[in-house]
């Protein structure tokens, strides 16, 4: 079943590439506006070492940001659940902070943390923090009241109730948050690189475009897309493995086809 899905995806992709190649041919577009797929492929091969170096940099930023954002988000959600003071003081701030576009503070982050990796990791962390906090906190609040009653009659303390009932019950919600975070993490890293960097795929794309090496821009974009999709699939796999009790009706339906 997995194979059939893969083949179908490949066919769609091949169709798109073909349409792209035809468009370039028929519209007779200059290669610095829209390079054909064969030019991009050639660039991928020729500049492989350069692309790999920058891709490694961006990947490291994304993974670090994802780890840090998940950790901070998870802790914030636990703090919000455990303490009413945290809810009163932190929650309004957290919601208001979402009114500020993270992109708007990217220049500030670069100013404070420099052109290196730190400002991009901070950017990715900030962008990941909110979906993780929001979804995990939501999950922690929505524990089945029946379980809570049962735990209360069993003499549970707030901590053991959190540890054995509320936290595991909130893991599916955290999983959704993580999937969302994996999808937006590359955006954070690349925007950070656009604002000011000395390495990374975003930096490479900016420079290539400025020098009208549009095929290099496309090659970098291709690698970035691969990174993003790969990361999402990896997170999805981990979440699925970690929550085997969860019924996944959509996947089951697709797979029986």
């Amino acid at each position: 079943m997995m194979g059939a899905r893969f083949v179908r995806g490949m066919v769609t992709l091949a169709g798109l590439v073909l349409a792209w190649a035809l468009l370039v041919r028929l519209a007779d577009l200059p290669h610095y506006i829209l390079p054909g797929p064969e030019r991009v492929a050639l660039r991928l091969v020729d500049d492989w070492a350069l692309l790999a170096r920058h891709a490694g940099f961006t990947a490291a930023e994304i993974v670090l940001g994802l780890g840090l954002g998940t950790l901070c988000g998870g802790l914030a959600a636990l703090a919000l659940t455990a303490s009413s003071a945290a809810r009163r003081w932190l929650l309004p701030l957290l919601l208001a902070s979402q009114a500020i576009p993270v992109f708007a503070i990217a220049p500030l982050l670069v100013l404070w943390l420099g052109y290196g990796m730190a400002s991009k990791v901070a950017m990715a962390t900030l962008i990941i923090f909110f979906p993780v906090t929001a979804s995990f906190y939501d999950g922690l609040r929505r524990t089945d009241p029946g379980w809570l009653d049962l735990a209360r009659t069993m003499g549970a303390t707030p901590w053991t109730m959190l540890r054995h009932v509320r936290m595991p019950a909130a893991l599916p919600a955290l999983g959704s948050g993580l999937r969302m975070a994996a999808a937006v993490a590359p955006i954070g890293a690349v925007v950070g690189e656009w604002v000011g960097a000395s390495a990374g795929l975003g930096y490479l794309m900016l420079h290539a475009t400025a020098r009208v090496q549009t095929d290099l821009t496309f090659a970098a974009l291709f690698i970035l897309a691969l990174l993003a999709v790969g990361l999402w699939l990896l997170v999805d796999l981990i979440v699925r493995r970690a929550l085997p009790w969860l019924p996944d009706s959509v996947m089951n339906k697709e797979e029986t086809k």
């Binding site: 029946g146 069993m154 595991p168 009790w245």
Partner: protein, 255 residues
């Protein structure tokens, strides 16, 4: 008969006295001035039309609901930590194995779970016929099996008082009868208060049956059917009483 660890209960299970209970719900008084005695070591079944507040009364006794009135045990000891709860849903944790679900109470009380706990849990799972399912997750079990696992979890708590809120109402008729037999056998000697909407269930399991009905709701005088529990379903007397109870319930408690 299967050996059930922790039973019979010693010292004798206390009677529970409810005095002047009143519960408000959404700004409306559900009932007030309610008095009830559940005799020690016996099963008291609480019948009544839905929405009358029988589940609320049970939750009040369990300390899960704030209301006024006095809930006490006749041996003078506080009830806290001496009662076990079994609800309408099995409330098994879907991520934990059946065995882990049975010993959940120990974990929640912060006890160190050791071999002794596991052995006792396995013996209880054996008693409810789920020994070979101990390492399964709940989603691999049928509804009846899940409710049996919930019963094992309730018994693992080993409390003299057991409160049950329509524990078998989600099961099909045959499975329900089997569960009633099992529960009657395994809960012998404990003070059980069971809320149910099924007159037959009350007549099979109850040493005393109380009907909560009317407006404002009040408790009927206890009905005490003859014979040992679980009473067989083909007793003519039982069926006559079931008819009477059904009639009583449909009349809204004015009998």
């Amino acid at each position: 008969m299967t050996y059930v660890p922790g039973s019979p209960v010693a010292p004798p299970a206390p009677a529970i006295h409810v005095t002047g209970a009143a519960i408000g719900f959404g700004g409306r008084l559900l009932f007030s001035g309610l008095n009830m005695v559940a005799p020690g070591g016996r099963t008291t079944c609480l019948l009544g039309p839905s929405g009358v507040g029988k589940s609320s009364l049970l939750r009040l006794i369990a300390g899960l609901l704030s209301g006024s009135g006095r809930i006490s045990a006749d041996d003078g000891q506080p009830l806290t930590g001496r009662l076990a709860w079994m609800g309408q849903q099995d409330l098994l944790l879907p991520w934990a194995t059946i065995l882990d679900n049975v010993i959940l109470g120990s974990k929640l009380r912060g006890e160190k779970v050791g071999l002794a706990h596991r052995d006792r849990a396995m013996a209880l799972l054996d008693a409810v016929g789920l020994m070979d399912r101990a390492t399964c997750r709940p989603d691999a079990l049928s509804g009846g099996m899940r409710q049996r696992a919930a019963l094992a979890r309730t018994l693992f708590e080993d409390r003299p008082v057991v409160l049950m809120d329509e524990p078998f109402s989600a099961l099909d008729a045959i499975t329900r009868l089997d569960m009633q037999d099992l529960a009657a056998r395994l809960l012998t000697g404990r003070t059980v208060i069971m809320v149910t909407h099924d007159p037959l269930e009350a007549l099979r399991l109850g040493h005393e049956i109380r009907v909560l009905s009317g407006s404002p709701p009040h408790l009927s005088a206890p009905l005490t059917p003859d014979g040992e529990t679980p009473r067989p379903t083909d007793q003519p007397g039982l069926l006559v009483q079931q008819g009477k109870l059904l009639h009583h319930l449909r009349q809204g408690g004015v009998a």
